[in-house]
């Protein structure tokens, strides 16, 4: 299967083409094709996984792409265990979301188009995962950006949706500048953009550490944009304007994890360059903290989840930054499942009550039990409660941070874990328990149809058990399958597990007190810490900051340049054009006022003389000819004499 693994990616592309060109009006056929394609991809990925289990590889397949003398840029497939894990994650979540969308998007006038975009996204994401060269990664990186743009703005009649799409595209594109520049620097020093060739160069110390730091940080800039890390995280919350399945697939489980994936792919740089590693780790930690703090106070169900996503991605970056290749990618996998589940659950709720505001929900677990139960499972998992999958992966991260001796980062990470469990359960309690705060909406709510709840159940299953492949006591587990350089098996740190569980539980308990028992009034707490509360509610004022500086500057600058273009350059061109005209007028004026004025007397004289001389002009051609001949004679005479 591996040697034909491009088929996995191409199937959804075929589906996209089919839907766009032939079935753009046929709801059933379009969704059928898309789902079939992604399911086949999933099955093939499973086969590929088994092959990788037998032979880790990496398997490399190269294709010629750009070939010109002195410069060649092949594309390739790089198939190692991480690839096959990612393939599996993408195809599973994608399949679930496809099926879920059948129910969620039911009746939408652009239903086939939605599925075509999903297919296109799946293709790009699989391509990104399979790609074995940085340029290939970049290509698919941009393509997933495009599909993200298209899907965020899917309901483009809403201004907020189309704005959000644009914002997402441009913000991530800003990060991609760094990526592109990183590629240029890499090519300049390494003369290759191929994963394997580059790795071997790095291993043989053929590239200096300073250069590697530059490359690492530049490539990480791309990851910052795509994985919504500080300072380019502002697009992700807005991206929630897209349909919820899209948020689940793209903006929670897969595409945003691409940045993490890319960072994992440059692990060899991180190992060499301490500066790059620390940049990544600190940005990750800061993002995790910042996003978690914002999530504490948000009232839009999807926005809470969005900030939670940012925070969790920060975790992964932190893990990778401290060299935790296994823990970062492991958390990437488990997070994909439970975050997708959370989003799909949220979608199910929104589908039922037609609002995003948690203040208008409450008590929904009676109406929609499956959604509620799966949502609880996912929340427990993300909070890191034993023995759900989130517990194992989060614990791996703590372990990695601690082993490298970054105690400050460890404290931040643990603190964020507490915040995570608090805001997740705040969300759960406000949504599913207590009294309905909007009776009308509550009355009309209902459990979602089966094609929406089955994916929830599948993902809930995975949220519980997927992490078990990484149980530290397991000898043939995740860490011996996906590893960097050589498989290393770290002994578990029991006390750390206990601390993290205690922190998570205390977060849950606090949420329980505030939002279930109401023994602490959240409003009063908010009043008490009003400045902080407002600060968090306004998302640290990042949007305002960017609006006030960068965006304002761009708008100002474009106007200035346009005025410059019309007012200076074009004016100058026209000036030169008019200069000729002006010149002639000037001379005319000169003629009339200066020469004529000054020499008027001479003018009269001239007129008098010319009055006589004009008699010469007889109009007789032969007179003129006579004068010509006279001239000729005189000329020859002059010459001969």
């Amino acid at each position: 299967m591996i040697e034909h693994s491009y088929i996995i990616a191409l199937l959804p592309l075929v589906s996209y083409v089919l839907i766009v060109f032939f079935f753009s009006k046929r709801d059933k056929v379009a969704s059928g094709i898309a789902i079939t394609a992604v399911l086949i991809s999933f099955v093939l990925s499973v086969f590929a996984l088994f092959e990788t289990l037998a032979d880790k590889g990496p398997h490399i397949i190269r294709f010629e792409w750009i070939v010109i003398p002195g410069f060649s840029l092949p594309l390739s497939i790089y198939f190692d265990p991480l690839t096959s894990v990612m393939l599996l994650v993408v195809t599973i979540v994608s399949s679930c979301v496809h099926i879920y969308s059948l129910g969620y998007m039911h009746g939408d006038p652009r239903f086939p188009r939605f599925f075509s975009f999903l297919s296109l996204f799946t293709f790009s994401m699989l391509g990104l995962v399979l790609s074995g060269s940085f340029v290939g990664t970049y290509i698919f990186w941009e393509l997933v950006g495009l599909t993200s743009y298209l899907l965020i703005g899917f309901w483009f009649e809403k201004s907020s949706a189309s704005n959000a799409g644009k914002k997402a595209f441009i913000t991530t594109k800003t990060g991609d500048l760094g990526f592109l520049l990183g590629l240029l620097v890499m090519y300049f020093f390494a003369h290759t953009l191929d994963y394997q060739t580059f790795y071997s160069l790095v291993e043989n110390n053929q590239i200096s550490a300073g250069v590697l730091t530059a490359i690492g940080i530049l490539l990480f800039m791309g990851a910052v944009g795509k994985s919504a890390q500080f300072p380019l995280h502002v697009w992700l919350p807005d991206a929630m304007e897209g349909p919820t399945p899209v948020s689940a697939l793209i903006h929670a489980a897969t595409m945003v994890a691409a940045g993490v994936y890319l960072t994992a792919r440059i692990m060899s740089i991180i190992v060499v360059s301490h500066t790059a590693a620390m940049t990544i780790a600190y940005i990750g930690a800061f993002t995790a903290f910042m996003a978690a703090s914002i999530a504490l106070v948000q009232n839009d169900i999807k926005r809470v989840l969005a900030y939670s996503t940012i925070s969790q991605l920060g975790y992964m970056m932190l893990a990778l930054g401290v060299g935790g290749y296994v823990s970062g990618t492991f958390h990437l996998m488990t997070h994909a499942f439970f975050k997708a589940l959370l989003f799909l659950g949220a979608g199910s709720v929104i589908h039922a009550v037609h609002t995003n505001d948690i203040n208008e929900m409450g008590g929904l677990q009676k109406k929609m039990p499956i959604t509620a139960i799966t949502f609880y499972i996912a929340s427990l998992s993300i909070s890191g409660i034993f023995p759900l999958s989130g517990f194992w992966s989060k614990d791996e991260i703590f372990g990695a941070v601690m082993r490298e001796g970054h105690y400050f980062l460890l404290i931040v990470a643990v603190l964020v874990a507490g915040m995570t469990s608090f805001y997740m359960f705040r969300l759960c309690f406000l949504t599913f328990t207590g009294k309905p705060r909007d009776q009308h909406k509550y009355d009309h709510s209902h459990e979602s149809p089966k094609n929406m709840t089955y994916p929830l159940m599948v993902l809930a299953f995975l949220s519980i058990f997927a992490g078990w492949v990484g149980i530290p006591w397991l000898h043939k587990g995740y860490s011996s399958f996906v590893f960097f350089e050589h498989p290393h098996h770290e002994s578990p740190v029991i006390w750390l597990m206990i601390i993290s569980t205690i922190v998570a539980l205390s977060g849950i308990y606090l949420a329980y007190l505030m939002y279930y028992k109401r023994s602490i009034d959240p409003v009063k707490v908010g009043e008490r810490f009003k400045p902080i509360y407002t600060f968090l509610l306004n998302k640290w004022y990042f949007d305002e900051l960017y609006m006030g500086t960068v965006i304002k500057f761009v708008y100002w600058f474009m106007e200035v340049l346009y005025r410059f273009d019309v007012g200076i350059i074009d004016w100058f061109v026209n000036f030169v054009g008019r200069f000729g005209l002006f010149n002639s007028r000037l001379w005319q004026t000169f003629d009339v006022y200066i020469i004529d004025g000054a020499v008027n007397g001479a003018g009269y004289l001239t007129r008098w003389i010319s009055g006589g001389l004009r008699k010469i002009q007889t109009g007789q051609v032969q007179n003129y000819a006579f004068v010509i001949f006279l001239g000729v004679v005189l000329l020859i005479l002059f010459r001969v004499m």
Partner: protein, 102 residues
């Protein structure tokens, strides 16, 4: 055998006769005919130079061809003008046509 000077004197005479006609004939057609005479004298010059000075190159003869062509063109246009003039003014006298003065 005649020398080059013979031919040049002959062409000079012919030219002068033509020029005289050009300066004095009233009839426009006569003027044109005089011009043709001058063309011919120029051609005699060309050809005699061709024969006596550059017998291999035939440059003079080639130019004579051009002169003849130009002469033909001139005759065509000139006579057309004469016809037009006649049609408009009922005369072909060049000294009648003196509207182009001050």
């Amino acid at each position: 055998m005649p020398t080059v000077d013979h031919y040049l004197v002959l062409s000079g005479l012919l030219f002068c006769i033509g020029a005289f006609g050009l300066l004095t004939r009233r009839n426009a057609i006569g003027v044109l005919m005089s011009i043709e005479l001058m063309f011919n004298s120029a051609n005699i010059n060309f050809i005699s130079f061709s024969k006596f000075l550059t017998p291999q190159a035939l440059t003079g003869q080639a130019f004579a061809v051009f002169v003849i062509t130009i002469a033909a063109a001139e005759a065509a246009v000139g006579l057309a003008i004469v016809v037009l003039m006649y049609r408009n003014f009922d005369v072909v006298d060049v000294d009648y046509i003196d509207f182009m003065r001050w």
